[in-house]
Amino acid sequence: MKFTPSDMLSMLVGDPQADRMVPPTGFTARLTVITAAIMAFLAVFALALSLAAGRLADRWGEELARSATLRISAPAEQMADQTAAALRVLETTAGVASARALSDDEQRALLEPWFGPDVPVDTLPIPQLIEVIEGDPGFDAQGLRLRLQAEVPGAVLDDHTRWRRPLVEAASRLRLLGWTSIALIFAAMAAMITLAANAALAANAQVIAVLRLVGARDSYIAQAFVRRYTLRALSGAGIGMLAGLIAVALLPAAQAEGGFLTGLGFTGPGWLWPLIIPPLAAVVGFVATQAAARRTLRELS
């Protein structure tokens, strides 16, 4: 059996008469709605977790990937020249968005954790640091090194590869974890809605038998159930999604101090992601009820 979206649509708008054939309330009806709601609620959290993990991973990867450091060690009198030469080279390098020599204050701030607040930066033979911000297609580190070697012999390029690798690995692990949990929750949601729809149909065996007895066609009977349960899965998941969004929005300190770990929550277009949950639940409900109804019907002469 295959279902195209248009099949699904025609079923959903279908005969409102057929709709009355299915008991409107009762435990099995509530079961479907509440199951869809609970699973949608969990799915919103999984999505939030996943997106937060993704953001974190992106940030770690990006912050480190997008910046590099050029270190110029030279006798004091050549320092200014070499710095200027290096900046010229960098300005003409494709893929470098900006380059900027750190001021003494900045250098002091960097060193402070190690040497205390009163490092005599000016009197020390400390190398000059140049912060390089990468552009979008990035620069060719190897090529840059060669050019620098020729023009600024005292320059050493550190593109942070060493620092980046473990962080990127950790970040991708976090991302994997997020998507694993989202896949799990979605699979569980599908399984639970399928179960609920099946249980509901089993509970309505008499309805199906009566309809079949009075000459209703299989498609009519299936449609009556499929329409009801698809709408139930849709509305249940809608309720659950809304509840989940509210809960996520209310989560303590969600976006504050976003420093190291971003809060669990949605940002910007991320808020649109949960909107896929109800349609997904509806599709699951549709397919599950369709299959269950056909199976129940086949057992009936």
Binding site: Q17, A18, R20, P23, A209, V210, G215, A216, R217, D218
Partner: protein
């Protein structure tokens, strides 16, 4: 209309019915008797395609049941009104809607049909209970509702399994009169019953034939009633 050709049926153990040949003529009126457990319900189920014979052929409106799709069977059922022995309804819909169910599922809900519905309900004595839910009906009321549901489409054939088991004598006479009227309009009727008094009463009104299931065979009962 309905033909059984050397039909046998078994639920898995020994054969319950065997070698049954029967041709239901349009406009005929049959009673079906036999001891409890002899296979009357089974026979009726073969007649409306709810069971497929384990041997032989059943033809429903000239088509072999084995070759019919599920939708074919559904369409054939619209021409056969059935009263089950254990009557079942959609318990969440009122009696009137349940009786009109065959019209609803076949998309025929015109005004004159609905007038028909009211008349039918008052004939079977359910006018005052039309808005009740099926679980609120008495045993006899349920049987009458089931009979009304079976005849509302004015089907070609009416198969009724023990339709008067739970109603009093007066009401059963009333129901019989309804079936006799329908038979006079050309409908084919078959009633499975244990109620010999009912059969006797019917014989005074219509030319009814009595079939009897005994020893796995279908026999025409003589004038011994």
């Amino acid at each position: 209309m309905i033909e059984l050709d050397n039909v046998a049926y078994s639920y898995g153990g020994g054969e319950l019915l065997s070698g049954i040949t029967f041709d239901m003529q349009p406009g005929s009126f049959h009673f079906l008797t036999g001891p409890s457990g002899s296979g009357k319900t089974t026979f009726l189920k073969l007649c409306y395609g709810a069971l497929v014979p384990t041997a032989g052929h059943v033809r429903l409106f000239d088509r072999d049941v084995r070759g019919m799709t599920r939708d074919d069977i559904a369409m054939a059922r619209r021409r056969v009104g059935v009263v089950h022995q254990d009557v079942q309804f959609l318990d969440h819909l009122p009696v009137a809607d349940n009786v009109a169910l065959p019209l609803t599922v076949s998309g025929r809900t015109k005004i004159d049909e609905l007038a028909n519905l009211k008349e039918l309900l008052s004939w079977v004595g359910l006018k005052s209970r039309a808005d009740a839910l099926p679980p609120e009906l008495s045993g006899g009321e349920r049987q009458r509702a089931a009979l009304a549901r079976a005849v509302i489409m004015s089907p070609d054939v009416i198969l009724a399994d023990e339709p008067t088991g739970n109603v009093d004598w007066e009401m059963s006479q009333r129901l019989l009169r309804l079936l006799v009227e329908l038979n006079k309009m050309g409908k084919t009727i078959m009633i499975a019953t244990h109620d010999l008094a009912l059969i006797r009463a019917a014989k005074t009104q219509v030319q009814a034939r009595v079939l009897r299931i005994a020893n796995r065979q279908l026999q025409l009962a003589g004038a011994d009633l």
